[in-house]
């Protein structure tokens, strides 16, 4: 029976050929070429000089790059807590029997994910604007003029301020993924738990969370991958400034490659981003697996 609908191997290969070719051309080839160029001094002309590991030595001692890496990790932590955490709470609320118009909540929750990063950046720039911004207007209207600031020019606050729009934008995205995972849980489980007297929080922690564990893992991986390559929102809002206070790795790579036309070192930074992202994603997955195994034991 299974064989009857299984297509021939050649058919499968034929179907696979196009997407695989596209993948190789758009992902694999640039990755390999970037890796090759990372061993050259290439200042944006036809002349490339092989310099061995010089770029990597520079990268290792490049304080701006490591500062940017720190900012990426900050974003990852902030977004795992902010995006996935808040999304989980919202999902629990939407799934509650007391909530009406669930479809509307889902739609409006997801809506920010569909807006382009440039628009989001501009909208939040207006919120933070020190003269015309909503935030300072609110502070003034409650009589706290002393708290008004040029928000995006505060080196200590700027990473938090640029994370907020990112978190806000993608809550809905994770909400949808979790909602679909939860909908596959048998409702009888919840009903029997309710009869046993479990309240909403207990149901969320002891029933929902373990049952959608794998989905949560996917969400966390997506969240890490997304934030390790963060660029657009921050570029629109601060261009990495003031100074390098909100510089992230991808932006630094862009700046070195295109503003400083140092393509060789820029390629080296891209390879660095790739390796660090793999380490962080791999490390976090190992960590989660380790933690969850402890609980089961």
């Amino acid at each position: 029976m299974l064989n009857s609908i299984k297509p021939k191997k050649s058919t499968i290969l034929l179907y696979l050929l196009v997407p695989v070719a596209m993948f190789v051309f758009t992902v694999f080839v640039p990755l390999v070429t970037a890796f090759v160029y990372s061993f050259f001094e290439w200042k944006g002309g036809p002349v490339k000089t092989f310099t061995g590991l010089t770029n990597y030595v520079t990268l290792f001692h490049d304080s701006t790059f490591w500062e940017a890496f720190g900012h990426n990790i900050y974003l990852v932590v902030a977004c795992i807590i902010g995006q996935i955490g808040i999304a989980f709470i919202l999902v629990m609320m939407i799934n509650s029997k007391l909530v009406k118009l669930k479809g509307m909540h889902r739609t409006f929750g997801f809506f920010p994910s569909t807006i382009s990063a440039v628009c989001i950046g501009l909208i939040w720039n207006m919120i933070y604007h020190n003269q015309y911004g909503v935030l300072n207007w609110f502070l003034k209207s409650i009589g706290r003029d002393d708290l008004c600031k040029v928000w995006l020019n505060e080196p200590k606050l700027v990473m938090m301020l640029v994370s907020i729009p990112l978190i806000w934008q993608f809550i809905g995205y994770y909400m949808i993924i979790m909602l679909s995972a939860i909908s596959s849980i048998d409702t009888e489980v919840f009903e029997s738990a309710e009869i046993d007297g479990a309240n909403g929080v207990q149901r969320a922690i002891y029933i929902t969370l373990p049952l959608i564990k794998n989905t949560m893992l996917v969400c966390i991986t997506l969240c890490i991958a997304g934030n390790m390559k963060a660029f657009d929102n921050i570029f629109v809002m601060t261009k990495g400034g003031p100074g390098t206070a909100s510089m992230v790795m991808a932006m630094y790579g862009y700046q070195v490659s295109f503003n400083q036309s140092n393509m060789g070192y820029g390629s080296c930074i891209s390879v660095g981003i790739f390796v660090l992202s793999l380490i962080v994603i791999g490390g976090s997955q190992a960590l989660i697996k380790y933690i969850t195994r402890e609980k089961e034991a």
């Binding site: 179907y15 036809p46 040029v150 003031p242 100074g243 036309s261 140092n262």
Partner: protein, 478 residues
């Protein structure tokens, strides 16, 4: 049956997604490519009635017949209101029309995209026949043999006598010239102020020293008005629109030319560090500027001036033309009160108090590969000479009161409003000129300096550290 239906469904979804995938990539490809404009459309866009009489050279006979590519950034959107772009498009169309045997293919991109694209093409050794070379790329590209050496052609150009020789400096490497400076010369640092507001503060004209500006700032801040608006959110503004001129007041022009020629000057030289220290003092210790100068761009900051929230604004000629147009349309009184001034002189600076940085940032350059075909090279040189020659200079002088590479004698300004005349005189007649830093050296240095400048203006780094970082980048990249 159900499974069959499912498989059919899956297959169709797969095919559809594949098709959609192909469709997307096909649709995206042309969008990524630069907008290629048909020469016919180009010619149609030019306003014949406004054209000055084209000199005889425009219709000169050239042996070359075939395709000649040019890449530039004077888009049709840009040319509305921007004299340089409009003039450039107009003379290009004139040349194209005068040479029916040559198919002039134009690749037109907006400036930001142009810079990225031309850098990528240079990296691939695939530059177009004729293109615009940015001053700070001259040394890199010339040393790699990408651009054709035009020294002899410029000397024998029919317009050689009228060229403003100073404009060639950013495109000269080891005594060889690699381009015809293009578009219009405009200042990068002008103080635009509201004469009426400063009169109320007790100043008949914009103060010539920062001490006086500080005194005026007390008055303006008391009124809830920003004394001087400035925007450095893009990071380049503090360099192009401020430090380039302020630095000259401390170091004088020789220091910078020595830096360009690797003649021994360094960013860590005392006079330049003093300029950085003064920049830091002005932005951190005085109340002269809007407090969000590091968070807003020049586009935002000039709106403070236009709306009357600020009494003055510091920016470049592109800001002047925007403010001019905005006020002319909406606020006649404020328009008539527009005044222009040079950057005030710091108390401990000793050089050129009346200087402002002006120049031509781009030059028409020719791909070195074109030289393989002497006829094509002759055509490319003819094109370059024409679009930077008197036809262009007369057009922008008569229509916009702007100047280009070629000097135009006796520009009749009487047809222009007073503000345009004032700005013309301020730009080309009444002030001394100095160099625009980032027309020279390499962006690998300026990018490091610009990033640090933003931190410096917040007071989070010392002038000495900024100078040392810039010097390190200079030594590593230049």
């Amino acid at each position: 049956m159900k499974k069959k239906l499912l498989s059919v469904l899956l297959c169709s979804v797969l095919t559809a997604s594949l098709l959609a995938g192909c469709g997307n990539s096909a649709a995206e490809a042309p969008a990524d490519e630069p907008q290629t404009e048909a020469p016919a459309e180009e010619a149609g866009g030019a306003d014949e009635s406004e054209e000055p009489a084209a000199p005889a050279e425009a219709s000169g006979d050239l042996a070359f017949a075939g395709e000649l590519e040019i890449m530039h950034y004077s888009t049709s959107e840009e040319s509305e209101g921007n004299g340089g772009s409009d003039g450039f498009r107009t003379v290009l169309a004139q040349w194209d029309e005068a040479h029916p045997d040559i198919t002039l293919t134009q690749n037109v991109l907006a400036n930001a995209e142009y810079k990225t694209q031309i850098a990528t093409l240079a990296a691939a050794n695939d530059l177009p026949d004729v293109f615009l070379l940015q001053g700070m790329n001259s040394i890199d590209w010339a040393s790699q043999g990408l651009v054709y050496d035009l020294t002899a052609d410029i000397e024998s150009s029919p317009y050689a006598a009228d060229y403003n020789q100073a404009y060639f400096a950013p495109f000269t490497v080891d005594g060889k010239i690699y381009g015809y400076p293009a578009l219009t010369g405009g200042t990068c640092t002008v103080v635009i102020y509201d004469k009426a507001m400063w009169k109320e503060a007790g100043f008949d004209a914009f103060p010539s020293t920062w001490e006086d500006v500080e005194k005026a700032a007390e008055y303006f801040n008391g009124q809830g008005i920003i004394p001087v608006a400035f925007g450095n959110g893009g990071k380049w503004q503090a360099n192009s629109d401020f430090l380039s001129t302020l630095g000259n007041r401390y170091t004088g022009p020789d220091w910078f030319m020595s830096l360009v020629a690797k003649g021994g000057a360094a960013f860590t030289d005392e006079e330049f560090v003093k300029a950085l220290a003064e920049t830091q003092r002005l932005f951190t210790e005085t109340e002269i500027f809007n407090e969000d100068f590091n968070a807003v761009t020049n586009e935002d900051a000039r709106e403070y001036y236009i709306s009357g929230d600020a009494a003055a604004f510091i920016g470049g000629n592109w800001d002047e033309s925007y403010i001019w147009a905005a006020l002319q349309a909406d606020n006649e009184e404020k328009f008539n009160n527009m005044g222009f001034a040079v950057l005030p002189q710091p108390a401990d600076a000793t050089q050129a108090p009346n200087s402002q940085n002006i120049g031509l940032g781009y030059a028409v350059a020719i791909n070195a590969k074109v030289a393989e075909d002497p006829d094509k090279l002759a055509a490319a040189i003819d094109l370059a000479e024409y679009i930077t020659g008197p036809a262009f200079a007369s057009y922008v002088a008569e229509n916009y009161a702007l100047g280009g590479l070629t000097k135009v004698a006796d520009v009749d300004l009487s047809g222009f409003d007073q503000i345009t005349q004032d700005f013309y005189n301020w730009s080309y007649v009444d002030t001394e000129t100095c160099e625009i830093y980032d027309s020279y050296i390499t962006n690998a240095v300026w990018d490091v300096l610009n990033t640090d400048l933003q931190t410096l203006m917040n007071g989070d780094i010392t002038p000495e550290e900024v100078a040392a970082n810039a010097q390190a980048a200079y030594e590593a990249n230049y």
